[in-house]
């Protein structure tokens, strides 16, 4: 039954994506202060199409695969981590879009160092790290507070796993973001450099947005543990945040992954944008 529901949900997601096409190139470029030229437009167009397709495919596989595995193993339970697997699929889709992006050909290079805060705001980098530490702290609290037996899957080993994931995920995702911006960038014109920077920034935003959503999801799982504990004080103060965190995660994902950001190199006259 769960398998069928997952397929229906996946088909629904595909339908929505078919309706909601990739953002128009001009609009996407404008929101990133990118000047489109005859030279860079085809690269941007192709990237937006493939990124949309690969990320969505990742989400769909992430929705279906865990249910398929649970079904194949004959287990009578739902797979752990509701949003975890689609987020993982989305991250893998983003990496695939970046890897399959045609490499620019040229014998020119920029003399500006490529650094992460040029491609995504410092506030967001800090937010991801702080969320990781906060979630690990809540995991420690949840470990100390004995979870009720009735919660089933939220056992102590599971809490330890969530805590470790909360610590490891920001580190791993930041490594992926740094890998994206440090990939070779041979170019033949300044307009291609600007387009390449904008595409890298989009990929970094997608990964970072998914990472923040992942942290909120893990936090929600742990808050549910605290909300179901025998300690009255914890139950009173964690029930609403747990519900909030669960419902906010998908919106945070969309919001953070699609923020506008104009890449400004250190030698540019203007300062980086201030969006998070």
């Amino acid at each position: 039954m769960a398998y069928v529901i997952a397929i229906v949900v996946a088909v629904g997601v595909v339908g929505v994506v078919m309706i909601v096409k990739p953002p128009p190139v001009a609009e996407w470029a404008r929101s990133r202060s990118l000047v489109l030229t005859a030279g860079n437009r085809p690269f941007v167009q192709r990237y937006l199409r493939s990124a949309q397709l690969l990320r969505t495919s990742g989400v769909v596989v992430g929705l279906v695969l865990p249910y398929a595995v649970v079904d194949a193993l004959g287990l009578r339970t739902r797979p752990p981590g509701s949003l975890l697997w689609p987020i993982l699929g989305y991250v893998l889709g983003t990496i695939a879009a970046e890897v399959t992006r045609p490499r620019l050909d040229g014998t020119r290079a920029t003399l500006s160092p490529r650094e992460l805060p040029t491609y995504v705001s410092r506030r967001r980098i800090t937010l991801a790290r702080v969320l990781g530490l906060a979630t690990a702290g809540v995991a420690l609290l949840a470990y100390v507070v004995e979870p009720r037996e009735t919660i089933g899957i939220l056992t102590r080993p599971w809490i330890v796993a969530v805590g470790l994931a909360a610590l490891a995920a920001p580190v791993l995702l930041e490594c992926i973001e740094r890998w994206i911006i440090h990939r070779p960038q041979p170019i033949s014109s300044p307009s291609l450099l600007a387009a390449d920077d904008a595409m890298r920034s989009q990929s970094v935003h997608s990964i970072s947005g998914a990472g923040i959503a992942l942290q909120i999801t893990l936090l929600a799982e742990l808050l549910i543990v605290l909300a179901s504990s025998d300690v009255d004080l914890l139950r009173r103060w964690t029930t609403v945040p747990a519900m909030l965190a669960s419902s906010v995660a998908p919106f945070a994902w969309l919001w953070f992954a699609n923020r506008r950001w104009a890449v400004r190199r250190p030698d540019d006259a203007t300062n980086p944008g201030a969006s998070c």
């Binding site: 014998t107 020119r108 290079a109 920029t110 003399l111 160092p113 170019i187």
Partner: protein, 125 residues
């Protein structure tokens, strides 16, 4: 701020990088304190071996144009005016060396002549 590599040129790639970085400082595009890209980044972008870019950076460091600070990266150490003054001194030194060579005098004689000239200007010899 871009750097161009001409694969067909007779000038070796490391020398092309060195010349262009100096030129960018002289035109004022690279200012004192600005960081140059890490060796791996520039080598990857230009499709060169890391050693080639490292050699260019070492040559610039030896010229006093940039300063390499290990993990903190390589930064521009000289301004356009400073490079121009250094170049003027270098030209004058080359003329002194050529004159000494023509009159079959050695380095010690050239240094003595330089000290005398320096003292005559009121400078510290």
């Amino acid at each position: 701020m871009l750097i161009d590599l001409d694969p067909a040129s007779d000038v070796p790639p490391y020398e092309q990088i060195r010349i262009q970085v100096r030129a960018l400082i002289l035109t004022g595009e690279l200012e004192v304190g600005m960081r140059l890209p890490p060796i791996r980044q520039l080598a990857g972008d230009l499709g060169l071996a890391a050693g080639t870019v490292a050699r260019a950076y070492q040559a610039l460091d030896a010229d006093g144009v940039v300063q390499s600070r290990g993990a903190r990266g390589t930064t521009v150490a000289q301004s356009a005016a400073s490079i121009q003054h250094t170049d003027e001194l270098l030209d004058a030194a080359r003329q002194l060396a050529a004159t000494a060579h023509r009159s079959r005098r050695g380095l010690d004689d050239a240094v003595v002549a330089l000290r005398v000239a320096f003292a005559a200007q009121g400078g510290r010899a």
